[in-house]
């Protein structure tokens, strides 16, 4: 156990060292059933109800691999630019823990699903490639509850609903050199996997979990330092905080003449520190051997081709396409490709309206505002993409004034109707015909002699007042540009 007995590291000291970080990410696959049995993976079920002989580890039970889990895992590997092995093998990882019903996890060892991949991150404009060593499949353990019951002082409670949920483990090369790089890597991985529908990647629900391997070495040194494993990083924020703390801790330790121990440390969000876990004897002798109850997994070229063809467009490509085809700014393209649902929503609005730039404006502004106010996801949007597309299109064609469009939008979100129906019913179509507006303009001139005097006297800003009168009289339907032109013509 290492105590934080050394003085904290100074920024100067830290600057002399280079952190070396690798991340191990566990992602829960978005299947309806577990990896080796037909139990539902649905969240929030009462304890020990989504269980069967297989995921309970009853005697005589045997695992049967899910095709869907394999396909999602392969897609994840492809999205991370990995080479999928034609044959991979499951292996048993043996250890005892109450949340591990069989006394072993079915994972993969020396024949993983995929290897040698990478993702590209961009940090302050500078691109960097982070290697992905391997992707493999495994089954999740159950859950332990240590508090909340009368006898929680002396007992822990075991719920095996989660046992058997399909996971992939993504191991990066130790290519990251700062907590920011780690943050960017995890962001990129999360976005890609979410995008292709492999997982929700919801860290709060535990669908994405991250452990880090951290070491430091003097800048310019060739060999890696001793690394510590840091666990319990269950948010992006904690990831950054924990890594920064750990880097600092290791530097301080080395500077004061100590040695970094190869150990597992837990991040404590309350103290902001990492602490060594109590004696985990025999922790690392997992006695891996090939899983005899499963056949080797063969993924042939035709299957791989089918999966490649079924892959949705990845975020980086989509971003580039939005910029090139729709002329969007880089920032807007980033926002609109943050999630797959969002990007598809936007693209529908852009296509239906025929005006991608306005579509971007509306989606990023009014729509996002509405969703935030109502606490909804884009998939729950009260305004459908098609309808919004129609609305934006009408505005672009000049059939609806910008101001009225906002009112119509509000009505659409309340009733779910198409804009056309609302406009028709309430007669909100923008009036652009000068002939139709002539009378209203003349009325305004007649009713506002004072303002007319002011305008003729050179106070051009009073035109807004006069235009406003016409807007009120026409219940906002008048085309402002046409009205303004009419006033100018009549008043000189």
């Amino acid at each position: 156990m290492s105590l934080s007995a050394s003085a904290p590291a100074t920024p100067e000291a830290i600057a002399r060292y280079e952190p070396v970080i690798g991340l191990e990410v566990h992602v829960q696959l978005a299947t309806a059933t577990k990896i080796f049995c037909g139990c539902p993976t649905s969240f929030g079920a009462p304890p020990n109800t989504n269980v069967c002989p297989v995921c309970l580890g009853l005697p005589g039970a045997l695992p049967v691999l899910s095709r869907e889990a394999v396909e999602l895992a392969v897609k994840a590997a492809l999205a991370l630019n990995c080479r999928v092995r034609p044959q991979s093998r499951f292996a048993r990882k043996n250890y005892f823990y109450p949340d591990l019903p069989k006394g072993y996890q079915i994972s993969m060892y020396d024949e993983p699903l995929a290897e040698n991949g990478y993702v590209d991150i961009v940090l302050e404009g500078a691109p960097k490639r982070i290697g992905v060593t391997r992707v493999h499949m495994e089954d999740d353990a159950g859950k332990l509850l240590h508090e909340g019951f009368r006898d929680s002082e002396g007992c822990s409670y075991v719920d095996l609903n989660r046992s058997g949920t399909p996971l992939i483990e993504i191991v990066s090369e130790p290519d990251m050199r700062s907590s920011d790089e780690a943050y960017a890597y995890l962001t990129e991985v999360k976005q890609r996997l979410q995008f292709i529908g492999v997982s929700t990647c919801d860290m709060e629900k535990g669908h994405l979990r991250c452990d880090a391997n951290v070491s430091v070495r003097l800048k310019g040194a060739e060999r890696f330092g001793t690394r510590a494993e840091v666990k319990n990083l269950n948010s992006f924020r904690f990831l950054k905080l924990a890594l920064d703390y750990e880097i600092s801790r290791q530097v301080a330790l080395i500077e004061s003449g100590g040695q970094v121990e190869q150990e597992t440390r837990l991040y404590n969000p309350d103290t902001g520190e990492t602490a060594g876990m109590r004696g985990k004897e025999h922790a690392h002798d997992y006695r891996y051997f090939p899983e005899p109850d499963l056949l080797p997994l063969r993924i042939d070229e035709p299957w791989l081709d089918r999966l490649r063809a079924a892959m949705p467009e990845l975020p980086a490509r989509k971003r580039a396409r939005f910029i090139e085809d729709y002329g969007l700014r880089e920032y807007d393209a980033e926002v609109l490709t943050a999630t797959r649902a969002g990007s598809e929503y936007f693209e529908t609005v852009a296509t239906v309206s025929g005006d991608p730039k306005s579509a971007a404006h509306w989606v990023m502004g009014d729509l996002m505002g509405l969703l935030k106010a109502e606490g909804k996801e884009i998939s729950e949007s009260p305004v459908s993409a098609r309808h919004l597309g129609e609305l934006v299109g009408l505005t672009a064609k000049g059939e609806l004034s910008g101001k009225l469009a906002k009112e119509v939008f509000a009505k659409m979100s309340a009733s779910g109707e198409a804009p056309g129906a609302i406009i028709e019913r309430e007669g909100l179509k923008q009036i652009s015909d000068s002939g139709a507006l002539e009378k209203a303009v003349e009325d305004a001139i007649a009713n506002s002699p004072k303002q007319v005097e002011q305008y003729k006297g050179g106070k051009t800003t009073v035109l807004n007042f006069l235009v406003g009168q016409v807007m009120r009289a026409t219940r906002g339907q008048a085309n402002v540009a046409v009205v303004t032109e009419l006033f100018k013509r009549k008043l000189g």
């Binding site: 037909g38 139990c39 020990n48 332990l144 006898d151 109590r278 005899p292």
Partner: protein, 97 residues
């Protein structure tokens, strides 16, 4: 001597088997004799031989479709539990953090 008492205790620890001193001594002797026989394998030339972990007939993988099946249910799941809480299995307190 192919296996020491220390190794016997280590292995028993890994396998979570409590052994008293007499058992440790007795099993050490048993395992020692058995492991001596296992050394026969050193005589066999296995260079270039593919390990045979399973009996394989080139069977197709037999993958499962992603269709939910009826689970056992809580009653049946807990029916043989030595100790249980309301809907849960119960174990002595796990100290980790």
């Amino acid at each position: 001597m192919r296996i020491t008492e220390k190794e016997v205790r280590y292995v028993a620890g890994l396998a979570n088997l409590k052994l008293d001193d007499a058992e440790v001594a007795r099993f050490r002797a048993d395992l020692d004799g058995i492991l001596e026989h296992m050394d026969k394998l050193n005589e066999i030339d296995t260079a270039g031989v593919e390990p045979m972990a399973q009996v394989l007939f080139g069977q197709a993988a037999g993958l499962r479709e992603d269709i939910p099946e009826q689970p056992l249910g809580n009653e049946a799941a807990l029916a043989n539990a030595p100790r249980r809480g309301p809907g849960y299995f119960k174990v002595p307190k796990v100290v980790e953090r």
